[in-house]
Subunit: 400 residues, 2 copies
């Protein structure tokens, strides 16, 4: 079997998917902010949503569709989260779904809606109505759609892979947005995945859940879980492969994992104000949950994040974060590596060339932290970004 990344691939690369976007004027800046993704045939759809108890109208709407498991289009906007907007918010979502259904000539209960942006303001529906009319759906519109969901993101996050295995040939693709309020819990910020593979619906939902746990649920930009988190996969089966299910789904899982890991890492790499990607590997933990807790505590620590921004090998903060993570650790058993330099072992600091490590941190765009807990066999990887002055600048004036 092979999994191959397609150069310049995006969500319209799989067969039968069309997309388009427009500058509707929802964002204050003159940027593309409304997009539609459409499949020419009905899709099996799986999805995960934010666990935040404050949920946007679009999350409530789209959850119902995923519960049924069939969808054919997604309409998404940036600039307005349409969360905390009460009945009016729900009415607006219904109208967005209805207009999209009419445009695509499909049933209204097959349209997923997603919003992202400022919480507590209403959608400018006049602009949305005109925008939906203006959108051209094309087989190469994936990149425009990826742009339409960006808020403080600085680049589009998109990927597509060709997969070939005993089931046949098919394509998986995805796009995601960051770049703040990123600390997903059971779901994530916005992520839309498309595939032309023919897949069993239950298998699709279970596989997505498992993969999200190891990818999007292991990233953190700022510790805040969004009200609008949503990850959706649509599979239209147009590749004509033999149906993929639990028995023969190994390659599909691997390919989807690669796609999701790429997008998750792209989100933190583009974390608000980020200058470095932080990859934390926790090994030999008592159980999987402990490994996750420790890895996420480290990537979420403001003190670890600011130290890395300053290229400062202040490894004590890493152990302090592990110690408050809630996982069981024993100080004497820990071994800590920072960019492959062992800094702590057998309960005491190790001698190392601090100046050399500092220079190394300055040169590398990815900072690797590896912590051997040595009280079990489980491991987990988490990804985060540093905390810069630019993060504060971005977030102290976001609504203005």
């Amino acid at each position: 079997m092979t999994i191959k990344i397609i150069e310049n691939g995006n969500i319209t690369t799989p067969a039968g998917f069309f997309a388009g976007a427009t500058t509707a004027g929802i964002k204050s800046k003159n940027l593309v902010d409304l997009g539609i993704l459409f499949s020419k045939s009905l899709c099996s759809a799986a999805g995960l949503f934010t666990t935040n108890l404050i949920k946007s109208a679009s999350v409530l709407h789209s959850q119902k569709i995923i519960n049924v498991g069939k969808a054919q289009a997604i309409i998404a906007n940036s600039g307005c989260a349409n969360a905390c907007t009460g009945m009016r918010g729900m009415v607006d979502i219904k109208e967005m779904a209805k207009l999209t259904a009419a445009k695509c000539s499909i049933q209204v209960n097959k349209v997923i809606v997603a919003n992202t942006g400022v919480i507590g303001i209403n959608l400018p529906m006049d602009k949305v109505r005109k925008g939906i009319k203006d959108i051209d759906l094309t087989a190469y519109g994936g990149k425009d759609f990826a742009r339409a969901i960006m808020t403080t993101d600085t680049f589009e996050k998109e990927i597509a892979v060709n997969v070939k295995d005993d089931n046949g040939k098919y394509t998986i693709a995805g796009t995601a947005k960051g770049a703040g309020m990123i600390h997903p819990d059971m779901a994530t910020m916005l992520c839309f995945l498309t595939t032309d593979a023919n897949i069993n619906q239950n298998f699709l939902q279970v596989t997505l859940k498992n993969i999200v746990d190891d990818t999007f649920n292991m990233i953190s930009v700022d510790g805040d879980t969004s009200t609008n988190d949503m990850i959706i996969i649509l599979s239209n089966g147009l590749a004509g492969n033999s149906v993929i299910s639990n028995k023969n789904g190994g390659t599909f899982k691997e390919a989807l994992l690669e796609v999701c890991k790429y997008l998750a890492k792209a989100v933190v790499r583009d974390g608000e104000g980020a200058t470095k990607l932080i990859e934390v590997l926790v090994e030999c933990a008592r159980n999987k949950n402990d490994a996750r807790l420790i890895a996420r505590a480290i990537t979420s620590s403001s003190l670890v994040k600011t130290a890395i921004y300053g290229n400062d090998p202040n490894w004590g903060r890493i152990l302090a974060a592990a110690g408050r993570s809630g996982a069981r650790i024993v100080e004497n058993k820990l071994i800590l590596y920072l960019n492959n330099q062992c800094v702590f072992k057998q309960g005491k600091p190790q001698d190392f060339d601090e100046e050399k490590l500092r220079t190394n941190m300055m040169e590398e765009s990815v900072i690797n932290i590896a912590l051997h807990v040595n009280n079990g066999r489980e491991k987990a990887t988490a990804w985060g970004c540093d905390l810069s002055k630019e993060y504060v600048t971005i977030n102290s004036a976001y609504t203005t």
Copy 2:
């Protein structure tokens, strides 16, 4: 009964307490960094310590003394946390206790030791030895001691109150340090309290625990719990009041609460890079734990903190933080006030003059957030500070 704040009062204001400090050279800057607090008679001692599983040698040492409940002196330094330093760290602590005991002519097992500063480096014991010799213990040395425990703090945090009730007259005082790695859990950063009141030992420990839960455990600067957190109260009984216990301890509790609340708020007010104090009141929650969870989630949110730094009434972030707090909330029942302006009610945004609120936020040094959850009767208050560029500057170069 009366509780009266004493102008310029500090930990040596209660009868029989002496303190002093010196510039031992533990800090890289030429600042006072080693202090001793001493009571001329043996004290009942109560304390709480960090719940971080990585604990400094001083925490391990001092926990044992508090378990017995008697102490007569505290030696504390800043500039070196002596955490993650293995056997060597513990040997150093023992020597600090021994030298302090000799200087004060008391038993070595009556000396509490506290350190704060960079994790993972050893104490420069030559400097510590000389420093202990150099310290002069005087009845007015409280302020010097308060200075000796400061790290990134910009002002001393100290208070003393005179209390008069049916039990007699006595004094309670305290000092605390911040200003980073502040997200206490069951205990807090360093805080030392003194009183000349005559108090039942069990009552003292229980009262301290309860008060810390409502004060120090409700503050957050950056979400990180320190390895060296410690709060200690010493009572030497020299005021000669009738013994205070559960039956007659109402005024004592109230006075100690006032002292602890003052110090806790001073710590966040001086949070690293802070320009604003944030006070969050959560009312009508299902239970006390829910009220605490919501209040702390809001004060800990980077997005709320940066919005307040930018005087931005971006209240959606406050509701988003409440929604991910783990507490049970129902969006339609919530009422949210920002600096006394109602911004959200009955499931929808309220009309208000945004420019006026922005100006008001700019003018006030304390930002008040009040959230009525309306599904119960319990309430809690939490305190935090904004997140500024200065926080990042301070923490990206702390060890250097």
